[in-house]
Amino acid sequence: MSDYNTSGFDSANMFSIDGRRIPFKPGQTILQAALEAGVYIPHLCHHPDLKPHGSCKLCTVTVNGRNGSACTARALPGLEVENDTPALNDRRRVLLQMLFVEGDHFCPGCEKSGNCQLQALAYDLEMVAPHFRHFFPKRTVDASHPDIWLDLNRCIMCELCVRASRDIDGKNVFMLAGRGANSQVVVNSPTGLLKDSALTADDAAAQICPVGAILHKRVGYSVPIGQRQFDDATIGHQVEYLARRHIPIKPVAVDAPKMPEKEGV
């Protein structure tokens, strides 16, 4: 049987990505199964420790001829997924350009450079210019917290911090508010400032930002440029890292404010 024949899988829990056979566990998404099998599908808003979200759309693939987010679409036996095609990568490049122009991503001046997934993806997908006219949004920088600073100019609205704070830290420190191009992350504190929130430096929400929007203070260049995560190999060649980058989880503060259980009507 040819490797490219996807119709004759001998195992039920197999599907194909670009003709390559991928095993999966029932309940896994296409992206989870792909990463585990060592196949890279570009993504930004996905993290292995969190529930799928599907907002960045970088992982859009073609599943049996239809477009879908690999991070939310379930792996099913016999699916034929297209991923690494010129057309899909073209589209991803446009999405990256959109993210670059709607925020303010000045890589040379950002201490996340080299560890930034947006930057790494742009290199990986050979995005050579932002192409579109910059939006030049007026967003704030919140440096009030002793250990963490928040620069919304670099935010890509992936909501990883929102989800990590809610689902891992049990704190609900962050929330996306507003609508459309006016969307922005807001901090849960009476003043709206990070210093008055429940965020601490060891929170998952403080570790998870894929770009330079949430950064730790006083560690900016402790790893020199040139020795950072994506400096040696492109992000596309670090599938193992992407599949296994778990956040160190500390005990959850159970008395933290949480959305009460909803009652039925």
Binding site: P52, H53, G54, S55, C56, K57, L58, T60, N67, S69, T72, R91, V94, L95, M98, L99, V101, E102, F132, R133, F135, I156, M157, N172, V173, F174, M175, L176, A177, G178, R179, G180, A181, N182, S183, V186, V187, N188, S189, P190, G192, P257, M259, P260, K262, E263, G264, V265
Partner: protein, 598 residues
């Protein structure tokens, strides 16, 4: 301390009414705004404490909805409907006139905190525009005279309740009635007919009728009901989607205004069939004026035992209906966004699957049906599926209500059996000079004259009901530009392609309108639109560029006559951009200017 007690005095009753339930957050914010005029950050902090949820959560909901205000917008908040049909009826001049009367800029609040005047998306009064909302109450048929009268009333701080009643008259304008609009309604008849058929019998008739949803997507209603009925769950819900936000459509407004019995009985029948005990009518904020009469109607149904316990004498059949009010967000017409909104959150579409029929409101099996679809269920209950199936076309059974607006002699509602040709509708409404028709709203399809032989049906031209006519004097570029701005305003912001793509498209359209567009921008429009269509999270982003793509293809001259005859032009005026530098350096000689011709 007096401020504290004032807050408690005004807000406590609201919280009590909603039982401090965080899932009622949107309704609570609406009601609190009604008493405090706007929702300050301080108010949000207090509400978050009271509801035991995070401040950021409350803020996320407030900041999402266009009609919830973070700062004072004045005691009189005037919004001009800015759909293309309002523009064609001259809304811009009236808007300017009112701004001038008050000495205000668009969106500015008067110094005394009395009034603000701004624009809003289509308010669903296209057949009797230009329309405005004053503190969310609809006023139709604006004229220069009416603008002046309203300015006087506002300046004299006359309460809205004392304004002339004729301002608030909203006509039905039914021009062609068929089986739905033309048949008298006998209260309870449809419910009793459904109960006589039994739950299985009713579902069987629905299947035979092959009724498809009237909200646009056209999903088969019987399949939806059956899936909800079979899904495991503790509760089931019936949601009536009355968030009629698609520009140019107003059929649901008329059905709610004059055919509410059918809408509600349709909900009761759906509840009976799937086994639901609670129904929710999600009413768009623009139709808020209908709420008192709808509440009264529900009270009447309860009195007649058509709602409540043991409905129509059927032991154990308990069902009631609540009305939830939207707050100005087009995306809430998408069923999963609507459910999020019902749960008090920002209206962002969920990841699907799971679909609402298995995991909807409160994560329970939920049927979401359009207003018109529910009306249709009453016809099937009364007359049976076979009778219904005989009307219309094979894949599109029954009749469809079309909301006709734009360049014609008789705008209003037209009900036809499915399969009617575009040309027939144009003839009936008196549109002899039509050059184009936008069917199914801003997200729909723009048809040119050579397509007027096509039919309204899921097999050919599907529609949620909007039908906007443009005659040979109109400029289809401006139509598409209006829609591009509409989508920029209404994108929820969840996914990259829609959030940014709608902004890019409207900027490109503005650049062309400014005479700074070239062939480059024409290519860009289609490139951005293709990415939005292929990768957006929901239908809004997938269809937001349709009108642009259609008009580029079919009305290209409307674009080309605006294009500069050069390869590329920047979006801004290079020389004007240097003005600040000239001012700082105190120079204004020839060498301090760029030669624009070069």
């Amino acid at each position: 301390m007096s401020e504290v007690s004032e807050f408690s005095r005004l807000v406590e009753p609201v919280l009590q009414r909603h039982q401090w339930r965080p899932d009622r957050l949107l309704q609570i914010l609406r009601d609190v705004q009604d008493v405090l005029d706007y929702l300050s950050d301080d108010t949000l902090v207090r509400l978050a404490e009271e509801l035991r949820i995070s401040y950021a959560q409350v803020r996320s909901t407030r900041d999402f909805y266009a009609f919830l205000y973070s700062e004072n917008r004045g005691r009189y908040r005037v919004l001009f409907s800015d759909n293309i049909t309002d523009r064609m009826l001259g809304n811009q001049a009236l808007f300017e006139q009112m701004l001038a009367n008050f000495g205000l800029a668009a969106g500015q609040v008067s110094a005394d905190g009395l009034v603000s005047v701004d624009l809003t998306s289509c308010t669903g009064m296209c057949d009797q525009g230009p329309a405005i909302l004053v503190n969310e109450l609809a006023i139709t048929r604006m004229t220069p005279q009416r603008v002046d009268e309203i300015c006087v009333l506002v300046k004299n701080e006359v309460p809205l309740a004392d304004w002339p009643a004729e301002f608030f008259v909203v006509e039905d304008n039914i021009r062609r009635a068929d089986m739905l609009l033309g048949t008298p309604h006998e209260p309870g008849h449809a419910i009793r007919a459904a109960i006589t058929r039994g739950r299985d019998g009713m579902l069987a008739e629905m299947r035979i009728a092959n009724l498809r949803g009237r909200g646009g997507a056209g999903f088969t209603t019987a399949i939806k009901w059956e899936a909800c009925r079979q899904a495991p769950g503790e509760q089931r819900y019936i949601v009536c989607n009355a968030d009629e936000g698609e520009p140019g459509t107003f059929k649901d407004r008329v059905l709610l205004q004059s055919y509410a019995g059918r809408v509600f009985e349709g909900m009761v029948i759906a509840a009976y069939t799937v086994g639901a005990r609670l129904g929710l009518l999600y009413l768009r904020a623009e139709y808020r004026y209908l709420r008192p009469q709808l509440e009264a109607f529900l009270a009447g149904m309860r009195a007649q035992n058509l709602l409540g316990k043991d409905i129509a004498g059927d032991k154990g059949f308990d069902f009631d209906i609540e009305i939830h009010l939207g707050a100005g967000a087009y995306i809430c017409g998408e069923e999963s966004a609507l459910i999020e909104s019902l749960e008090g959150k920002a209206g962002k579409p969920r990841v699907r699957p799971p679909f609402p029929v298995t995991c909807g409101y409160m994560n329970q099996p939920t049927v979401v049906n359009n207003v018109e679809t529910l009306c249709k269920a009453t016809e099937i209950a009364i007359h049976g599926g076979a009778w219904y199936e005989a009307i219309g076309t094979k894949q599109s059974t029954g009749t469809k209500i079309i909301s006709v607006a734009g360049d014609c002699e008789r705008p209003g509602l037209y009900e036809y059996a499915f399969g009617v040709r575009i040309a027939q509708i144009l003839e009936d409404c008196g549109a002899s000079e039509a050059m184009a028709v936008q069917v199914s709203g801003a997200s729909g399809v723009c048809l040119s004259e050579r397509e007027f032989g096509r039919r309204i049906a899921f097999e050919d031209v599907p529609t949620a009901g909007s039908f906007m006519i443009f005659d040979t004097q109109r400029d289809l570029f401006e139509v598409a530009r209006n829609f591009a701005h509409f989508f920029r305003h209404e994108s929820c912001g969840f996914c990259t392609p829609c959030r940014t793509g709608t902004a890019l498209l409207s900027d490109l359209m503005d650049k062309i309108a400014d005479g700074r567009g070239t062939q480059y921008e024409m290519n860009e429009l289609l490139r951005v639109q293709a990415v939005m269509k292929a990768s957006s999270h929901c239908g809004l982003g997938q269809t937001a560029g349709n009108a642009v793509a259609d008009t580029v293809q079919k009305f290209r001259p409307a674009y080309e006559r605006r294009l500069a005859q050069t390869d590329f032009m920047p979006a801004f005026d290079l020389d004007a951009a240097l003005a600040k530098g000239r001012a700082i350096t105190g120079r204004d000689d020839a060498l301090a200017h760029l030669d624009q011709g070069a």
